[in-house]
Point group: C2
């Protein structure tokens, strides 16, 4: 019997844990859907009207999908209330720091007011066991000393509209947990990468360029921005496992850093990716890409997630980068 | 020559420092308008369409007033750009913690997105010297130990939609100061009271009831909520002087606590006000008013404002409470 018919059987699906994912068609959303399906969940989710289903096409028959704008409060409540999920994973967001500078209003609307709409829905659901809100290490902003390993107790001092919006949305979640008893727990995700991530982010930007060069679609010359910063990278598949663990064991109102605990220079990421091509590549600094970071090193402690959730990083960065490179090779070959 | 014609003279008004106040018809807004007029500023300001001008009727001829919804970004920019103020004082807000619980969406819209609209306007003004954003001690939320004296370095952990909105708006201001060079400075005001404050707040609520009893308009029996909390009360006229000093000397991107440095029990406020009536009043606890505070003591240090701005509290609380009582006697007598 194919998985799809199992999911569509009402009797059977009632016995399963029911999960609802906002942003299910996105980078992390699609991997989370796979993670939950493989752990026996019934999985439904929402995509923006214009969003592509490319990331979930291989599992689409096993999913219940809805076109939903989370800024439409009434319809959001309608759709989710009808589904009566046990778990909500709120991933839908304007997720690019870079874009948030020029799209401030939309960033606050989607990331803060959108989260309010999900929380208000969660507040009226009768069988909700847990809501997982996906926040970001960008909510920390500036801190000192500049090379410290961050813990969840670090005060939030965000310096981008994206970071400000995620910090505010976390505060909404804590308010709903503490004052209204909504069982919402908070993932504070550090950088993560892997296949399917859009090229607005540094790793897929590099991987796509190098794959294009490998395929002869681009001259052996690639443009890069600031290579000096160091970031704490995880594989997206580790991060979404963290989301599942949070749904199962996360404490309401508490934030959990999901990260590897190591900081790697962007230059190291580049050199690792360059190792996958047979071509000799000339690397050129593109001044338009030089948004100099005020945060030279971003490295988190994952101790709380390890101790309370049993979170571990299973993927090493080289494997993740190779998978990402392969993804772009396939994608560019078929387009 | 009456002041009004001085203000309307274009030649003369060009030599004056030009101030624009959002929420000019409100409690603090009206006192700030008086403070600035008495210090030689040309004063203009915006009121919501439905807002009363009662608080500013005695100075209305000396003001340039506009009906403006700050959520209308285009018109906000249009009105303020035409005025080309040297100083913007952004006071317009949904300012009641109590109301914010039932009006979350509006709280975030007005207090965060409204502030974004003012900041985006400030960003394009050519002669702006300073913008003063009025934040609140409610952005601190829960802290420990519970009786500590707060400084501006205290992490923000707000527990009401109002507090969350003011914390987020402060972060927007810091972002505009640090990343876009908008000269915006931040007042973090603690409780303030005085004439004209609406009875949604504890001091005018008590003062109005006691004035009504004094006038024989209410039986000598008054309803109160939790009297145990201690708060740092200032006179509104001290606080608005702080706003003027911030415009003149406040550091962009920095927050300044405006407060007295002393915490007074709500019970003491009540007893002081009861001392002003000749009637014997029976005080009854009204369970519907018992929104038990998670913050038993709220007391700030005003050291930064004192040192950097020369801020001092001129009014003692008893005088402020007496002025408030007199205000309600007059108001209730004439209605």
């Amino acid at each position: 019997m194919p998985i799809s018919s199992v999911c569509q059987s009402p009797d059977n699906s009632l016995k399963k844990k029911r999960a609802f994912i906002t942003g299910i068609g996105g980078f992390a959303g699609s991997f989370l859907a796979e993670e939950l399906l493989s752990h026996g969940y019934h999985v439904s989710g929402a995509l923006m009207r214009a969003a592509t289903t490319e990331n979930i096409k291989s599992i689409q028959n096993n999913l219940e999908l809805f076109r939903l704008d989370i800024l439409n409060a009434d319809r959001t409540q309608q759709v989710i209330s009808k589904l009566q999920p046990d778990y909500i994973f709120h991933l839908a967001a304007l997720a690019s720091v870079g874009k948030s500078f020029s799209m401030e209003r939309l960033t606050y609307r989607i990331n803060v007011e959108g989260t309010l709409n999900i929380l208000q829905t969660a507040d009226v659901l009768s069988r909700l066991k847990k809501m997982v809100f996906v926040g970001s290490a960008d909510c920390y902003g500036i801190f000192s000393p500049k090379n410290k390993t961050l813990t969840e107790d670090q005060p939030l001092n965000p310096i981008s509209p994206y970071g400000i919006s995620k910090a505010a949305a976390e505060q909404l979640c804590r308010y709903y947990a503490q004052q209204r008893n909504v069982p919402v727990t908070i993932a504070r995700s550090f950088n993560h990468c892997g296949p399917r991530q859009t090229e607005n982010f540094v790793v897929p930007d590099f991987a796509r360029q190098i794959a294009a060069i490998e395929l002869g679609l681009q001259k052996p010359r690639m443009a890069v921005g600031d290579l000096g910063a160091r970031r704490d990278f995880s594989d997206v598949r580790d991060i979404v496992r963290g989301y599942r663990l949070l749904a199962e064991d996360g404490h309401p109102g508490r934030s959990y850093q999901l990260c590897s605990g190591r900081a790697v220079a962007i230059k190291t990421v580049l050199n690792t990716l360059l190792g996958f091509t047979t071509k000799k590549v000339r690397v050129v600094t593109d001044r338009t890409r030089l948004r100099k970071s005020n945060i030279p090193i971003l490295r988190g402690s994952n101790q709380r997630a390890v101790q309370e959730l049993g979170y571990i990083s299973r993927y090493n960065l080289k494997a993740t980068l190779y998978n990402t490179f392969e993804y772009w090779i396939t994608k560019l070959s078929s387009s």
